[in-house]
Symmetry: C2
Subunit: 263 residues, 2 copies
């Protein structure tokens, strides 16, 4: 037992990802860690959970002196298992997820296992941060951003996040002297234009393979995409209440209609 | 070619689910349908997409005179494939997803494949409705709610949804004369208290199997959970912008801190 903060570390690229290693290196300076990550890459898993199958946890000796586990499930499963099985309901002081290999800015937050893991922890009331570097390469440079990551984690450990419990943090892939610091942003209203690579497999069956292009028509200068294009680290305070409060009133006549007998 | 609306129908319980059949029966009275659903149950898949593997589409002859396909991927994959491969970018006039076997009220929207499929269509600008019945049984009574479903689809086809494109609709499992009509709501701030069933498999390996209990501490009478408990059909206008706008200002000092040189 120590007085150091307890930090839960996870990701969606898997227990062996370089981004996770970088995150562990920063976080271990600030607290006691427990690492629980998928045993295989789980990109694009969103907020998926494993219902139909049993899950496995395996203790791994990857980080000297740090308790680490690989999990057979999704990123969200990792967080649930950490909370309920490994921490026996004890709440971590902070959850950090990532560093993801690739952007989770804008609507990518919906598809991202990295962000869904962090969101799952935030649902438990834990201050949570998902980190993503805009570089899909396995050997991406995760060092340049480390001082910023440390600063942000320290800030959150010290100040908390109020009643917002989740930050979506994306980092441009530039050298440390080009990084301009943090920019607090809203999520850009961008989208993916999908395409499917079509082909015939060795058994003669047609297949479709997802590809696509991220397209931002949101010209606002207060968005995460804008910030990243201008070498800022984007920080989007994020939540889990999807209600469109602005649309509640317009639908009220539907209530009245249902008041009359229907055929 | 007809002048009837084009309605995309999908779900997460799979192409053979009774809830999908009920939804098709209602929707076919209102428009021309294209049905694309997973070839196996995909509950809890959230907004997962298939990146690493190719996808398959197979035409199936389930509904007399209706074009229907089973897809090897997730519910979100179904919608993407429908849009880009089957409809050749033509936008449907409406997307309906479900009827899900079980509740997707409150934060269940995050885990739900049914709602994620509808949300994916909404991201494409299509008015979309996810329907869920609060009965997990395969043989649940999907008939009682049909007149309400028809009324709501007609309403949306006629009036649109403004700039909100997504409704999360949950239906209490009661007889038709007990159903009180629609209630426009916000998403309740509830959560799951998870437990894991622990056991040893036939190979001697420990496993954890997810279970849990839905717990609502949100006492508001304007929530979906409240409406359902009072025999209303809950209708939550929903979105995909997770930004916590109320938290933007409080974080601004982080921007200033990052302006000073870091060690």
């Amino acid at each position: 037992m120590t007085n150091r903060p307890l930090i839960l570390v996870t990701n969606d690229d898997g227990i062996n990802a370089h981004g996770l290693k970088a995150l562990v290196e920063v976080a271990r300076e600030l607290g006691d860690l427990i690492v629980v990550a998928p045993d295989s890459p789980q990109s694009g898993q969103g907020h998926a959970i494993t219902i139909k199958d049993p899950l496995r946890l395996k203790k791994v000796d990857i980080y000297d002196g740090i308790e680490a586990y690989e999990c057979s499930g999704t990123p969200v499963d990792c967080v649930k298992l950490a909370k309920h099985v490994l921490l026996h309901q004890r709440a971590a002081d902070l959850c950090v997820s990532g560093i993801n290999h690739g952007s989770n800015a804008s609507i990518n937050i919906l598809y991202s296992g990295t962000m869904s893991a962090a969101m799952e922890a935030s649902l438990e009331g834990i201050n949570s941060i998902g980190f993503s570097l805009l570089d899909y390469e396995w050997g991406a440079d995760f060092d340049s951003c480390k001082p910023f990551l440390k600063e942000l984690m320290q800030y959150v450990l010290k100040n908390g996040l109020g009643n917002c419990k989740l930050l979506n943090v994306n980092i441009p892939s530039v050298s440390s002297h080009e990084l301009k610091g943090f920019k607090i942003c809203r999520q850009a209203e961008a989208r993916w234009i999908e395409k499917y690579q079509e082909g015939i497999d060795p058994r003669g069956q047609k297949y479709y393979w997802l590809t696509g292009e991220f397209t931002n028509n949101d010209k606002g200068e207060d968005t995460d995409v804008w910030a990243l294009e201008h070498n800022y680290i984007s920080v989007v305070p994020s939540g889990h209440d999807l209600t469109r409060y602005d649309a509640l009133d317009a639908l009220k006549d539907l209530e009245q209609k249902a008041g009359v007998p229907i055929s």
